[in-house]
């Protein structure tokens, strides 16, 4: 058994194809992103080494920093909304009739492509014929806003479909976590006279702290690299008011042909995502993880 199961050739045969694939498609490119970031390069003519110039320019690039701000705004908002999702999941997990159906319905938007969602919401936000302004007009609003063309409200308008898309995902994760808490623990607390509110805040939420950590990472990192919906709905506009890190990188590289500069942004994005993950994990690290299953 031992001998059969430690056959080097078979192990190589099973693991190497996948390993080569992720090295070629994931790891080699991130190393190259860092390397290209040191170059002046338009994608066609030969690269010229310019050291950290791109990064120095990046630090002074106001458009870049405003895109960073927008990304972080999305990250903060997404994290705050986790509390709402957790509350919904808490209610759903409390033996509500039809809980299963509810969480499935909530999940539907997450399964659709960002392009379809973006196109649908473009129609919803359409300034003259969209359903939203239609509704406002029937309520007597005279001056209906142009949701995606107004720099003051465009970020908020983009955040709504993002919420709509991902709500079900987080509710599902929290629901599954709450459901995996053994009933005996809750029963014991009830016998000790704890109110439903106390049980929720003092017992259920702390018990799923590991899952909460994971969802915070997902929400923050997901927001920092958000791209598809914004690219389709506003393309970063009007005048950069909804530009985020990934869209700014895309514009610089594939529209402006500044591949070196784009790579510097890409590398920055990578670092920020990794650092954010690390920081959140450190900040929320619990000394002893709770074992109950």
């Amino acid at each position: 058994m031992e001998k059969v199961m430690s056959n080097k050739w078979i192990i190589a045969l099973y693991v190497l194809p996948s390993l080569l694939l992720i090295v070629a498609i994931i790891y080699l490119p991130i190393v190259l992103t860092g390397y290209y970031g040191l170059m002046e390069w338009d994608g066609i003519s030969p690269m010229a080494f310019i050291g950290l110039d791109n990064y120095a320019t990046l630090m002074r690039d106001e458009k870049f920093w405003s895109s960073v701000n927008h990304s972080f705004l999305f990250a903060v908002l997404s994290t705050v909304f986790l509390i709402v999702y957790m509350s919904v999941a808490l209610v759903l997990s409390g033996n509500i009739r039809g809980a299963n159906l509810f969480r499935k319905i909530y999940l539907i938007p997450m399964l659709l492509s960002s392009v379809a969602i973006a196109q649908l919401w473009l129609k919803i936000y359409h300034p003259t014929t969209g359903i939203l302004n239609d509704l406002l007009t029937t309520f007597g609003v005279k001056e209906t806003p142009d949701w995606l063309a107004d720099p003051a409200i465009v970020l908020g308008a983009l955040f709504v479909p993002i919420l709509w898309q991902y709500a079900g995902f987080y509710i599902l994760i929290y629901y599954a976590a709450f459901k995996s808490i053994p009933a005996s623990l809750i029963e014991a607390a009830r016998i000790d006279g704890a109110s439903p509110w106390q049980i929720a805040v003092r017992i259920k939420v702390p018990l799923i702290s590991e899952v909460i950590k994971v969802t915070i990472v997902l929400a923050v990192v997901g927001s920092l690299k958000y791209f598809d919906l914004i690219y389709v709905m506003t393309d970063g506009g009007p005048n950069g008011a909804s530009e985020v890190m990934a869209s700014y990188m895309y514009h610089k590289a594939f529209r402006g042909f500044e591949f070196g500069y784009g790579s510097a942004i890409g590398f920055f994005l990578l670092l920020i995502c990794l650092v954010a993950t690390w920081v959140i994990r450190r900040l929320t690290a619990t000394k002893d993880t709770i074992q109950y299953s």
Binding site: V91, V115, L120, I124, Y250
Partner: protein
């Protein structure tokens, strides 16, 4: 997850025991129903305007169907332009990538959980960290890499990218299941003189059928909806997939909302259908794929 859910027996809801509790329960219910209506309403609206002509879209109330639903919108959209082409591109790219990912991930997971070798923790780490890398940071080097290999504007680059980026999460979903598989069966098989390949293909792989279905669905949803790789790596119109194709196609129609609606409905129907048939698997897969991170 599901076993835990069924293990918790349904109890009479404690909140419904008193009148005050009944009101709270009722209010919560109203909120839950309202939220699910909000989650589906935009899709219902999309479906309704896909059955109208432009005049009806603007004149009829948003949630009114025309007296005669215009199914011909679907027909004309399907036969015009490249929608059917995009559709079948999406189908084959999704199917091939899913099969490749599942096969490679199964081989890796088998070697990780069943075979003995020194570099195992390191290699597993490489696969798991791959999950945290934002695809945008790899975009410029990948584009350049594919260009050098003469693979831009070739759908093979999509299959390779989808497979590489889906391997980590697929391996993660499979890992838990593999750890729980009993070893006795394969030990007996090895005693009887089975080689590793036969143990894997004839014994272990069939035993993992259920988790493979779950992982395959998650992969399918991801690949079907993928946007940025197709948008960046594919320039010929006839090679595009549905997400990007739809984006360009819809862009031509600024006024024909019926056509836009029908196009978007066609692009999301396969996923909605999969959801109706396999919602339990989808819910299970999404929960499994996220919580363990």
């Amino acid at each position: 997850m599901t076993t835990a859910e069924t293990a918790i027996k349904r109890r009479k809801n404690p909140a419904s025991r008193s009148i005050g509790g009944g009101i709270v329960y009722g209010l919560l219910y109203v909120v839950l129903i309202l939220a699910s209506v909000l989650q589906i309403l935009p899709l219902v609206w999309l479906f309704f305007f896909s059955l109208k002509n432009s005049q009806e879209v603007f004149e009829l109330p948003p949630f009114a169907l025309p007296s005669k639903p215009r199914w011909e919108n679907y027909e004309s959209v399907w036969s015009q332009g490249n929608i059917s082409k995009y559709f079948f591109n999406s189908v084959w790219i999704t199917v091939v990538s899913v099969i490749l990912t599942i096969l490679l991930a199964s081989l890796v997971t088998f070697a990780m959980t069943r075979m003995r070798w020194k570099l195992r923790p390191f290699v597993l780490g490489l696969f798991m960290v791959g999950m945290m890398i934002p695809v945008h940071s790899t975009l410029i080097p990948l584009f350049n890499l594919f260009q050098k290999l003469h693979l831009t504007d070739n759908q093979a680059n999509l299959v390779l990218s989808y497979t590489a980026f889906n391997l980590p999460i697929t391996i993660m979903i499979l890992l838990g299941f593999y750890y729980a598989l009993p070893r006795e069966v394969e030990e007996a098989a090895v005693m009887d003189g089975c080689g590793v390949n036969r143990v894997f293909f004839q014994i272990v792989l069939p035993m993992t059928a259920s988790v493979i279905v779950t992982a395959a669905i998650i992969n399918m949803i991801y690949n079907w909806n993928e946007f940025i790789f197709v948008n960046t790596f594919i320039s010929s119109d006839h090679l595009k997939t549905l997400t990007v194709g739809v984006q360009n196609f819809v862009g031509q129609y600024t006024t024909n909302w019926g056509a836009v609606g029908a196009t978007l409905m066609i692009s999301i129907l396969p996923i909605l259908l999969a959801f109706l048939l396999l919602s339990n698997r989808i819910v299970e897969g999404i929960a499994a794929g996220s919580v363990k991170g």
